[in-house]
Symmetry: D2
Subunit: 424 residues, 4 copies
């Protein structure tokens, strides 16, 4: 991405933007909000892009490909580079092993560095069988009844740590599909104990400055039970492993109607929220574009996150990642929509008058509590997002710029129409 | 309500309002939106207040009262009058019989008229036993296995029509609790046939210019089955009754994750959406303040409603009503929050560039489709709502005005602290 | 399958079976049940096996293969032949086009006939793109905004009818994935109208003695909306097409907590229940083995089906099919478990004292109603199922027999370990 | 209850019962099951009846009374006495304070003792305001923002312990309605901290040999958030309080599709399952008769409970209670249906061949695992239940006996038709 092209593209939006930004800025200042500080926080907020989100995802009913997909790790990094140039919010990539094992570490690191991309959490895969694998994960991995399978899964996770370590990653995300599709298929207590033992073994392999994130999910791909089915189980396992182990919350991994913001609050109070995966959904783990279905819930979650970041020093700064798929959109445009929705929710949460809210809560003035949240939410914060991007050299209008620069066309020219991204 | 007090109160908000309205108005005009027309539509949009929403509702675990509740029909009308004076959007009341049978029709009509309140749909009650009733609805009403019970329920509905007719209402809303709490308790086909026959009998009693609205609900107060469990059943019954019979959609009466906007679209296409009840919910029929949980869904529904009102001449103008309860808020403040949320969603839906959206749909440009909806939704439309109220003589800031005028205090002084509203 | 092997295998179970059957039979006779008639009905009840259920299914996260899968249509028919020999309940196969297009119709028909297998409903596929296809179904098929796509999808369905007709099928099942994954992506009314028009065009192509089944599903693979989202929409479309068009109910295609037996009752009363797909699920359309999660619900549905078959002459005899997948079980064993669960639920429903139940319902004796259903459900009907199979020459213990005859081993020897079934 | 009347009533059922019991007994013995031991366990299994379940419950839409309800504590004990005489499984009562405060402890204890009834867990009530209360629980109790309210709620719980102690209870159940109905209404972390502190204060008041049970529930009566929303939160609080604090699982207190048996297993492994409340539901916390909706789920839960009772010495023997309501059934008949369903599920779980199941699990033979569970579940165990009752002097057919003895009629004669039970 040529920076000048972005600057060029910004020209036509600049005047309108400046007017709306100035107007909003004045409005917010008169309400006592610190716009400069908000802009600074927005600029600092960086979300990792998972390598598998750069190709078209699919469902069990099939997959509709997209042209110009990145077919190797280098091209995936380039895609994130494009996103980051335009949005200035996607300064990290999260690799999935074995889909993204580097062949030449120096080249890969250089490629990332030159585009201001760092390597975020690395992800292991014990839910699929690799062709060269000796043991099968058909009946589980870290919690499998057979020791040899557990050993293979532990070993794989250790290798993932090693790979990540060479790239500068500082954390491992463990998502397990382990569970059962039929009642009676497995013994809940035994598989949970195996899982704990296996996790502890992986934990021992963590470098000093690393963290381990334990993801939970109620169902899919197993449809009766999942070993780590909820935050309570993940939290229990993280406590059993040690202080470098944390729970990871994925927005789509909850039963219908779960109050996710409350879970976030509890985990941060306990110092155990390690990572957060963004997406949106209406029915299950739909992995839709962030903010496309329930933007107010996203805001409420950010309200809890902002509160925790301000008030819970016991909790580390969480690792942020988008975990969405899309078989009917250009993946890069889709990710820009996700990034915009994330920043929007964050900005609105930053607008909440926390002191005023606390006072209203203490007075049990429920109407005022609601008014205060809705006042922040109803504010059109897009000028703040644009200004934050502008300050960092990004595009005022990322998607419009991406389209006017015909970037996808360029990618197709370079990579071919039928390239297929590795991964889901 | 003294109009001058509202005007007085507006003074302190006027300058800020004018600035933000002018700025937004210019912005929207430059995007091709017709602000004058939008304001006109907002002013015309009137939502009925149900008489039972003016007292504190409760749950099966108990009820926490609120002071100064209206204890008779006249006081309920006065409460709606207050709401309407402030918001200029609540120009109708919806009565529930037998809770609100007028003793003197002329007085009641005069009281309403003087406050610019009309009588919207009347609601029958066959889910509770009245002390004087001969038959019990314990095992159903219009679908009861016993003819005498069905007859009593039919007769009651006819009387409700007669009462409504004397007041100037033009529609009857029938909500049935009929169903079963245990498998085997009732024969699905028999009770459905009885229900259809009973509805037809009530339909025959409708005055020429009346409509009958048939509500549906999947569960509660019956917890295994409900006779009219979904829109499909209601639609089938409405078709069986005739052209004056319509389906009524209540936002809270759906199974988890139902796509309600699609139901609205289908019904309007078929000319059968008669009424709409607003509320919000996270878990079931929670009857929370409109827009307090899923404001984006409300916007999507309004997008479908606006589309239907523009493109479906076969569908009558729907009857709008708030159907929420609240045992922890001042009912009047709660209703003002609901009215604000409804108007906000309506205003945003009016901002959608329908032509542009259609073009993007035809081109399968999913990203642009989403951008167009979100562009409308992300706009802060509060200045439009304030201007619409101002144009009609209402309050720029209804809740703040209500508080500064100490209206609740006045009501308590007049009605006493322990007055209890009839109804749920 | 050599019949004698089954007879041989039966010998060791015969005495125990006879004792339990005789005991149960006496017990039921003393309660006034007609055991002979029940056995006859069980023998007549035949469920179609879909061709795609004979290989291991998977999820979007991957697929774990099973050895000895049938790799062509002939082998699929043989698999159904094995099932039918053992269970005497699987005397039909349901083909999916284009996965199962016969190359030689005579051979295929002969192969089926020799194993007493008939060809049930044929299924079209407009949710995946075939390599040779000109148009893509990425954005819909029968409801696509583009006419050329709709035409291709219509033409495909007509060809499926023609193929089915040559094989002796008498019905077409249309399942559409059409819908949207994002709000705004499509216009609900337009796509519904297109869908109706397309279905009518296919309907015109139906031979005189054919039926068309219209399936519905709330979500997946689209995650915001589905064009035919519920029975109400399907029913409306079936009515629009004509008397040969019917609704098809798939157990897994409902929102959480839907009362499916009530839908079945309503459709049968209206003479519009054309087909029924069996499976089970805990979370969504999990496609688990029938009866593995909610056997009581299955019984309640069968209770509604039995009632309808006895009392609704306006409804045709429904087409039954299993629609489950399984990536962790031997598909043939899994299907035998499904068949057993279906027959069990049917047998229990046949035990319900319908006259006694009606009387209890009329007396509003809810406790007795429940007792009557539970009395039938709690009866251990396995001896009836075994006797019905025995009467037809099947196996007393199908799975045990399948295992003792080492049938899977034989199939692997014949087909190889790595054969892969076409289809999902 | 005159014992002789029950014995008389048994006569007409005895022969049939003996035949079916003998037949089943032989069958089970030949499968290696220890029938004598199973009968012993069934006899020992006693379930507490909550005092509030003896009157007709209702919904927020109203309540339909039942004749002859017990109007004071003594009569409630008598009702449990009737249940226990007939079923021999209801040897305990669970009191709710302040609804059931004894006026004369000795009389009450004597009344219970004479009917073989013990006093199980006592329940506090901080979700309703009592007329004499100084502070209101409208905005919470143990987690209230105001110290005086928290103090009142703590004090109340201590008094409940004292009352229970005088009666011989050994445990306190704390169910909190605390939560919020609107986003922003409360600060998740603050109210959780307050709740923990309050619970610890109550815990300090527990006598040496007492336990405290902490109940959880996702929603209702609050509809946005609940302080103790899930087992994870309850477990965390129980750990914070100490070794006498446990989690209590109520079947109806879960989000849709939750795998409850897995929660039970985890808690027992951790030694923290203190109590269990039985009921059934299709939609939410419907509080229907146990086993009336999902009997297979109940069996799976009992399978987990039986496993835990055999293998988890670290977990105390749980306190069992029915927590259902019913406004359309005679409460006593309803409770007998619940008791039967509980014993049925327990008996079936006792039939599971645990060693065989473990072996099948170790071999990943999913089909066999399912067969083993279903073999136990499909067995008609009613003869075992009858024999267990017979052994203890109860009725072979409790409901039929209750009806033939016209017990309700007697109660109405004694108490009047319009007596109203205190409580929900």
């Amino acid at each position: 991405m040529d920076k000048n092209k972005i600057l060029d593209s910004n020209k036509k939006y600049l005047q309108t933007h400046t007017e709306t930004f100035d107007f909003l800025s004045n409005q917010l200042c008169s309400q006592g909000r610190d716009v400069t500080n908000i802009l600074k926080k927005l600029s600092q907020f960086q979300v990792a892009i998972p390598s598998w989100a750069l190709g078209a995802g699919g469902t069990r009913f099939g997959r509709f490909g997209f042209q110009g997909e990145p077919s190797n790790l280098e091209e995936k990094i380039d895609d994130v580079g494009i996103l980051h140039s335009l949005t200035q919010t996607a300064g990290a990539i999260s690799l999935h092993i074995p889909w993204d094992v580097p062949t030449d570490y120096d080249t890969v690191k250089e490629r990332a560095k030159s585009q201001n991309i760092v390597f975020d959490a690395v992800n292991s895969n014990t839910f699929q069988d690799q062709k060269t694998a000796k043991e099968s994960y058909k009946y589980g991995s870290l919690g499998n009844m057979t020791k040899a399978v557990r050993e293979q899964a532990i070993q794989h996770n250790k290798e993932v740590i090693d790979i990540g370590n060479k790239l500068g990653s500082k954390s491992l995300t463990v998502w397990l599909a382990d569970g059962a599709s039929f009642p009676g298929q497995s013994n809940f207590q035994t598989v949970l104990q195996h899982t704990e033992t296996s996790l502890k073994s992986i934990y021992e392999h963590l470098p000093q400055d690393w963290k381990m994130f334990i993801e939970y999910k109620p169902y899919e791909p197993n449809f009766y039970s999942t070993v780590i089915q909820d935050w309570g189980t993940s939290f229990m396992l993280a406590n059993a492993c040690g202080e470098k182990a944390y729970t990871l919350v994925d927005l789509g991994h909850h039963l219908p109607n779960t109050n996710i913001e409350q879970i976030v609050s509890t985990l941060m109070m306990k110092g155990k929220l390690g990572g957060f995966h963004f997406n949106d959904s209406k029915y299950g783990d739909d992995d839709l574009t962030v903010g496309s279905i329930k933007p107010y819930t996203l805001f409420l979650i950010f309200n809890a996150l902002v509160y925790g970041m301000e008030n819970n020093p016991q909790n580390p700064y969480p690792a942020w990642m988008i975990d969405a798929s899309h078989n009917i959109k250009d993946p890069l445009e889709d990710l820009m929509q996700s990034l915009e929705a994330i920043q929007e929710a964050y900005a609105k949460a930053l607008l909440v008058d926390q002191k005023g809210l606390l006072k209203a809560q203490q007075e049990n003035d429920v109407v005022r509590c609601q008014e205060m949240l809705q006042n922040a939410y109803r504010t059109d914060v897009r000028p703040l997002l644009r200004q934050a991007r502008l300050n960092s050299g990004g595009a005022i209008q990322p998607i419009a710029t991406y389209r006017s620069l015909k970037i996808r066309k360029e990618l197709i020219k370079k990579r071919g129409a039928n390239s297929v991204a590795s991964g889901l």
